[in-house]
């Protein structure tokens, strides 16, 4: 059947587009250009609470371990280490990064709230919807969404060729759409965090123009999370939760998702 062959070919092409080649060659790397200490990718079996701070001062090139990956637990422990060291900015940064890799974790949320409260930075309460759509990690939700797409798509196409088991097909399509919807909602919830940055220095001036001589319009406390709107020659246009915008030197903040 032509359609079956087409679907099979599409699936094969899709799999070929994924990370299989890079896995085979073993050259998967974290984003270059990120702060080695703030990204601190660690091996899966190491304890970041002890290894990450010590590797942080090492050569940045050495930290781009070819076999390293991110880990929510590692980032969470790294955030704890920075919190104990009295660096709320770096602690919040690592907590925010950990949140991108895992499902709703009460420990991360509690420590994030604690550090922000200690730094006198307001915390937005988490809604029930946000907790619901973060029922699983984004990776798990990505695969479940893909599964939902396959399930709904196959049953939908099959419905055009066969007339039996219509109720089963409709139920399967609904489940597939629900899985995809869950993935989309998870992306919507995490989207602001993907474009956020954390202020790392106390009383960081936000300037009216992207230049060191620009007049400050307001100051940002350490551990404040802002959204990034634009970049220009070492400065980032940020927007606070209250809507104020200003240019901050990129040395004073770190994006939650390291820049390539």
């Amino acid at each position: 059947m032509n359609i079956s062959r087409t679907l099979l070919a599409t699936l094969l092409i899709a799999l070929a587009c994924m990370d299989i080649p890079s896995i085979a060659s073993g050259d998967a790397q974290p984003e270059s250009g990120a702060h080695p200490a703030t990204t601190a990718p660690t091996t899966a079996t190491s304890d970041p609470a002890t290894t990450a701070p010590t590797t942080a001062t090492s050569d940045p090139a050495a930290t781009t371990n070819s076999a390293s990956t991110y880990s929510a637990d590692s980032l969470y422990n790294l955030g704890n280490a920075y919190a104990r060291a009295g660096k709320p900015g770096l602690a919040v940064l690592n907590y925010e990064r950990a949140r991108l890799l895992t499902s709703y974790d009460p420990d991360i949320e509690a420590n994030l709230r604690f550090v922000r409260d200690s730094a006198k930075v307001p915390t937005d309460p988490q809604s029930a919807f946000e907790r619901t759509v973060r029922i699983a990690s984004p990776t798990t939700l990505a695969w479940s969404g893909l599964t939902g797409l396959l399930l709904a798509g196959i049953l939908w196409v099959a419905g055009g060729a066969a007339t039996k088991h219509r109720g089963v097909r409709r139920g399967g399509i609904a489940i597939g759409i629900a899985l995809m919807g869950l993935t989309v909602c998870n992306g919507m919830v995490l989207w602001p965090t993907l474009h956020a940055a954390v202020i790392l220095t106390a009383a960081t001036p936000a300037r009216v123009s992207p230049a060191p001589m620009g007049d400050p319009v307001f100051t940002l406390p350490e551990a404040e999370t802002v959204s990034m709107k634009a970049e220009h020659e070492g400065f980032v246009l940020v927007q606070t939760r209250t809507g104020k915008t200003g240019w901050v030197a990129d040395a004073n903040l770190a994006p939650v998702v390291p820049r390539y």
């Binding site: 359609i3 087409t6 599409t10 699936l11 899709a14 587009c17 994924m18 998967a28 974290p30 702060h35 080695p36 200490a37 899966a44 190491s46 304890d47 970041p48 609470a49 701070p53 010590t54 942080a56 990956t69 991110y70 880990s71 929510a72 637990d73 969470y76 422990n77 704890n80 280490a81 104990r84 060291a85 660096k87 770096l90 991108l100 890799l101 420990d107 420590n111 984004p138 990776t139 798990t140 990505a142 695969w143 969404g145 893909l146 797409l149 798509g153 196959i154 939908w156 998870n186 992306g187 993907l194 790392l200 060191p212 001589m213 070492g234 040395a251 004073n252 770190a254 998702v257 390291p258």
Partner: protein
């Protein structure tokens, strides 16, 4: 009145009348000179007062280097205890021709001589350097005579002595680009000038007048006994090209001019006060421009010899100093390097690029700000602020800053050099490791991976045990190729989005194909494929031949179309196949019988024609259409 009283009164009157000539017999003459010390270009006032109703013909004194001119006369009558005392005063203006000490001999043989000290003109002409710098008015000028303008030194009064304008220059030899502070004074005689219609301006274009103060200083002064309002503007003069120039300033104003003829000037002199003249209708308003006497200024070009490469055109006397906003900073922290240039000169030309390329430092263009030390910006402090960012930790010394200028005092170029500032740069905040408690590290290392470290401080929840990288434990590691190498969720990465898009397109295409096939099955005659342009053209020709009942044309078109279609399907050229080969190849074709019959009918129609009904045309049209479009209906 009794007879005795009448006699006494008569005697008293007789005594008074008899005594009066006796008092007038010996008239006294007194002379006063004010002031006793003046500068060149100024005048003093000599007043000769004589008692009595009449003064003998006055002989003007003659002193070499002094010019005496009568500018007025007054008479006074006093009655004291019944005695009548009269005096007459003659006012003379004494104008020196040269500087020096002059002795004015006594007016009478018994009177004392007067001494006048005349200082050389220093050019400033400020009121503080002379007691009466404005006494250079011509005879009758202040009293309203129409003898024309007068000029002496820095003062030129208008025709009726109502106003003057004067520019005080501190020096006459200057350099191109040099700033020269000047004071422009406009004297307005009270009551004679009704309005000042503009700011003072230069008469030529060889100079620019910068930073002219909008609000002048206002001083009330008596000049030659006449009240004047003196307005003083401060400004900076800047020559734009070398040469010798006559510089003058002017200012528009409205004055009151007399309407009486010149011969009646004595009446105005008697009226004196402008209020009195106005009262008698002697003046009318008139717009004039008062100009200062030209002052010669020699402008010299800056020397080219010894000119530093970084010379920006600054001329004056300057000093520099530099500092850094903070002695310590971290890598990536912006610091501000400041250069302070203080002194006097043309600060608008004071400029410096500061630091441009420094190893281990990122520099930005500087910005400058100027703080005036006076009203015109001739003195002050210009501060340059340059943001710099260190890229390497350690104790680093920034290069010394230099500033080059031309000093008109020493008449040579000078290069000032600041002290190199030292800064201690710490590692970047993001690179600095948090001090992990030793116990935590030791415990964790001792326990090894997978074991929770020491309990956290109060408020923080404990660390998580690291058992895996977060992937499900039931999955073989060989299949975990989506491990998080990036913080971006997997569903937002490009490969994953491409997969989902391809799948969605494939599903949509499959569904559409199935629906179309089902629709075609439910609708006989419905083509599954849109005919190409060539096929559509052939079908149109078939329909046209059918409508015309032209079987010859119909079969010719049908045969050619089928041969082309079948040959293309077989991958050969239609012209290369003989009729026998057509028959052989059509043996295995699904519609081979129909096609062979069509070819036979086409041959018959070509040579003998063939009678066909509309049903026959429809049948063969469907056969051709099915072959061209692949219709199965």
């Amino acid at each position: 009145m009794s007879r005795a009283s009448t006699i006494v009164l008569t005697i008293l009157i007789a005594c008074i009348v008899a005594a009066a000539p006796a008092m007038a017999l010996a008239p006294l003459v007194n002379a006063t000179l004010e002031p006793r010390q003046i500068s060149m270009g100024e005048s003093a006032q000599l007043t000769i007062t004589g008692t009595g109703s009449e003064m003998d013909a006055l002989t003007l004194p003659v002193v070499a280097g002094l010019d005496f001119r009568v500018i007025g006369q007054s008479r006074r009558l006093e009655i004291i205890n019944g005695a009548t005392l009269s005096s007459t005063s003659v006012i003379l203006r004494v104008t020196p021709q040269t500087a020096g000490i002059f002795t004015i001999p006594g007016i009478t043989p018994k009177s004392q001589p007067l001494v006048l000290r005349v200082n050389p003109d220093n050019g400033s002409g400020s009121a503080s350097q002379s007691n009466n710098p404005y006494s250079a008015s011509p005879p009758g000028a202040l009293s309203g005579s129409s003898t024309g303008n007068s000029s002496a030194g820095g003062i030129r009064l208008t025709a009726n002595g109502a106003a003057f304008i004067r520019m005080n220059l501190p020096k006459r030899d200057v350099y191109v680009g040099e700033s020269i502070p000047v004071d422009i004074e406009v004297g307005l005689r009270s009551g004679f000038v009704t309005s000042l219609n503009g700011l003072p301006t230069l008469t030529g274009t060889d100079f620019t007048l910068n930073n002219l103060s909008h609000k002048p200083e206002r001083v009330e002064k008596l000049i030659d006994g006449q009240p004047f309002t003196v307005l003083t503007w401060h400004s900076v003069l800047a020559p734009v090209k070398p040469g010798t120039f006559n510089l003058s300033v002017e200012s528009p104003l409205t004055i009151r001019v007399r309407t009486r003829p010149a011969r009646d000037s004595m009446i105005d002199d008697l009226l004196g006060d402008p209020f009195m003249q106005n009262f008698f209708g002697a003046t009318v308003p008139k717009d004039i421009t008062v100009a200062s006497p030209p002052a010669e200024l020699k402008v010299v070009a800056l020397p080219t010899e010894g000119r530093p490469a970084d010379f920006s055109g600054a001329v004056g006397t300057f000093k520099i100093a530099s500092d850094v906003s903070a002695p310590t900073a971290a890598v990536g922290d912006p610091l501000t390097l400041r250069l302070h240039v203080t002194g006097s000169g043309n600060f608008d030309r004071v400029d410096t690029p500061m630091l441009e390329h420094v190893d281990h430092w990122k520099t930005y263009p500087p910005k400058s700000s100027f703080t005036q030390g006076d009203t015109v910006g001739y003195k002050g402090e210009k501060t340059f602020e340059q943001p710099v960012i260190a890229s390497q930790p350690g104790t680093q010394t920034l290069p010394a800053l230099t500033f080059s200028y031309f000093d008109p005092t020493t008449q040579r170029y000078e290069t000032a050099r600041s002290t190199p500032p030292a800064v201690t740069i710490a590692p970047a905040l993001a690179d600095s490791a948090p001090p992990v408690p030793a116990t935590t590290t030791a415990t964790a290392n001792a326990n090894g991976p997978g074991v929770s470290p020491a309990p956290p401080p109060s408020g923080l929840r404990p660390d998580h045990a690291i058992t895996s990288d977060g992937t499900p434990s039931w999955l073989p590691q060989s299949l975990v190729f989506w491990a998080p190498h990036s913080l971006i969720p997997l569903y937002l990465r490009s490969p994953f989005l491409i997969v989902q898009s391809l799948l969605a397109v494939a599903f949509a295409g499959g569904w559409f194909g199935l629906r179309r096939r089902a629709f075609a099955a439910a609708t006989p005659g419905m083509p599954l494929k849109r005919p190409s342009k060539a096929s559509a053209k052939l079908l149109q020709q078939l329909h046209a031949a059918a409508r015309a009942s032209d079987s010859t044309a119909f079969f010719t078109v049908a045969r050619d179309a089928l041969r082309q279609s079948l040959a293309a399907r077989w991958g050969i050229a239609a012209e290369t196949l003989a009729p026998e080969e057509w028959s052989a190849r059509l043996q295995g074709h699904d519609d081979g019988d129909e096609l062979r019959e069509l070819f036979t009918l086409a041959d018959e129609a070509t040579y003998a024609g063939h009678g066909m009904t509309s049903t026959d045309f429809d049948r063969w049209t469907q056969v051709v259409r099915r072959q061209l479009l692949g219709d199965k209906a």
